[in-house]
Amino acid sequence: MTNVRARNESAWLLPTDGTRTNHRLREDMRRFADTEEVDLVVVGCGAGGSVMTQRLARSGWRVVVLDAGPFWDPDSDWVSDEAGSHHLYWTEPRVIAGANPVPLGSNNSGRGVGGSMVHYAGYTPRFHPSDFETFTRDGVGADWPLDYTDLKGYYRAIEEELPVAGEKWPWGDPHSYPHRPHPVGGNGEIFLRGALAMGITAKVGPVAITNGRFGNRPHCIYRGFCLQGCKVNAKASPLITHIPDALAHGAEVRADAMVTRVEVDQRTGRATGVHYVRGGVAHFQRAAMVAIAGYSIETPRLLLNSASARFPDGLCNDFDQVGRYLMVQGAPQTAGRFDAEVRMYKSPPPEVSSEEFYETDPSKPYQRGFSIQTVSPLPNTWAEHVAAQGHWGRSLREYMSDYVHWSCLGALCEFLPQPDNRVTLAEEKDRHGLPVARFSYTQCDNDAALMRAAQAAMEDLLHAAGADEVITIDRFAHLVGGARMAADEQHGVVDSDCRTFAVPNLLITDGSVLPTQGSANPALTIMAVAARAAERLASRRSHPD
């Protein structure tokens, strides 16, 4: 392993006394005035925004990152409880539409420093080389303006910084992980047993959960509340993997600051800063450069809400590309019933995966594929799974009382990018008076075929492990796209370095830029793309003026 600490000291900047937050580092944080033109202002302190902030702060840039949510302290702000974690989600109003509307909130997006990675599960697989050229290979989706080899070094770097634990990975570009695989709990055991019986390869990992100490981060205590925020500091999120190092290098994190509009000089066409509201007061932060990283819904919404005389249909929207080609992964969840007690709530939900069905199989009637992973829902989410079978009243209570006997798997199906799956502005306004996002989704035939194929594969696997009955709920996860990367401005919003085609000093550095999604969970790729964009930006301007 290369010397991570020399590149990113975050894990060593956390406390050693059993508390989780270095309050001193936050108190001593550098603070910029609104009127000072900083080198870079970043909108959103999640997966993409945090990496951007940390990398450029390290390069000597004066960086401010604004986030609409709080600067979390895991000790006082997070609980070991499902319903009590509601405040981790982005729950400002949004409207969902289309033939297959996708529920948002808890299942899809977060807020505050750390972004959605505060309550993501923690799976961190790489994309496969094929994901970067699905159009050339399979005639579907889109080709990226960069390929796997452009990202490979950044994947490795981020895997070391999180760090990722898992077995040697045989799929895509085979690789190993910096931390050994975790021991598995009941759900992982069932998955491995079923896979063995069916002759399918399944591997433990890859999860961004420390196995052993990493800097001052302790190891996982297998408490199963990863989707409620890790109170242990074992599961990686930018709050502990990138922000401490950014602060130590002079970046400012300005939390509870909702950006309402990106300002563009109508004469020069350059971005001049961002308008934001903090504590009810409107501010304007001046900046020489702006990077938007607000997630696949809020990033397009902010662009559309930043319309001006020069950009009447929304910022960077000259070619009607903003908000389009948004993707979710089809995430059917199939559970199997065992006479033995599985107690899937013990251990992190992310344990074991298989990418055996990831690539296009010419013998199948659909293109591209899916992956399978353990999911292990806690009681509230499990009740949703059971209620979806139509149970209510007494039968719901009886099914629920059987919780300890169930094992649960989830698939990630590669839904294809389509122009009409998009974010537009709704009539409804939020409390800032800004139109809220309307997110419309309709599956294509290939998407629907993948959902059923993935369900069948999970049913077979659970039966092979000994399940006497299986039940499935259709879910959707991981939004990416909406301001995609492309070769030119007729087909996307940014270039391969995440620079917008329309505004020379405006970047987009979050999941919105992904043109395809593979069947891999996206956070690692979002971070790798941001790390690459940051490095290219810093090398172009070795010292910003």
Binding site: D75, P93, F338, N380, A383, W392, M400
Partner: protein
């Protein structure tokens, strides 16, 4: 589908009480969880008429027909009412539904109308069997229209709020064998058929609801 077989549900985890472990929880989580077994929050959002219909609906959805004074009873209606009063939504709504608070008011009124049309009495005053028929009819409609709304979106609203309120309560965890909060203690014995000293084995492991329903 709601099986109406009479009789008490079996106690599958005899003697298991998650609160026995509460001294091992961190203080922030303890505060959040214990607040749920304190006096339920006052009704602030529902009108008295709405409250009565909501109570009958939730009793049906969660099969809570026992003694209203029973301390293990989950105050589902109060918990839903609090969320609506505080606009604590899930962060999205279907385009064809009003926002959640209004959707609750509208659908409770529709339940009352429906019961009056069918049986000549309001929903809350109807018999349990009559209430169950009205509810089942909504579920059976699927994507068809119910009082101007898509029936399955109405069902989604009711069941999401009701299940979250119910399965956040320690009484419900006791019933399903789930130990609740696990910080800072964690688990030492994950794995199939492995238990922590404080977990209680299922007394009826063969009581498979799937098998028995066939």
């Amino acid at each position: 589908m709601s099986d109406t077989a009479p009789g008490p549900r079996p106690d599958r985890f005899p003697g298991f009480d998650v609160l026995d472990q509460s001294r091992h929880w961190d203080s922030v989580t303890t505060g959040v969880v214990l607040s749920r077994i304190e006096m339920p929050p006052d009704i602030r959002f529902f009108t008295p008429d709405e409250q009565a219909v909501a109570a009958a609906l939730c009793d049906q959805l969660l099969d809570q027909h026992g003694d209203p004074e029973d301390p293990t009873r989950v105050p589902v209606v109060n918990l839903i009412d609090s969320r609506l009063a505080e606009q604590q939504t899930d962060g999205w709504r279907y385009q064809d539904m009003p926002e959640d608070a209004q959707a609750w008011r509208d659908t409770l009124a529709a339940l009352d109308r429906e019961a009056t049309n069918r049986f000549g009495v309001g929903f809350a005053a109807g018999s349990r069997a009559q209430q169950a028929m009205v509810i089942q009819a909504v579920q059976d409609l699927g994507s068809a229209d119910w009082h101007g709304l898509v029936a399955q979106h109405v069902w989604s609203l009711w069941s999401r709020y009701a299940c979250t309120a119910f399965y956040s309560h320690p009484s419900a965890w006791n019933e399903i064998g789930f130990p609740g909060p696990a910080y800072p203690r964690g688990y030492k014995n994950p794995g199939v058929d492995s238990r922590e000293p404080f977990e209680v084995p299922d007394a009826f492991p063969d009581d498979d609801p799937v098998r028995s329903s066939r």
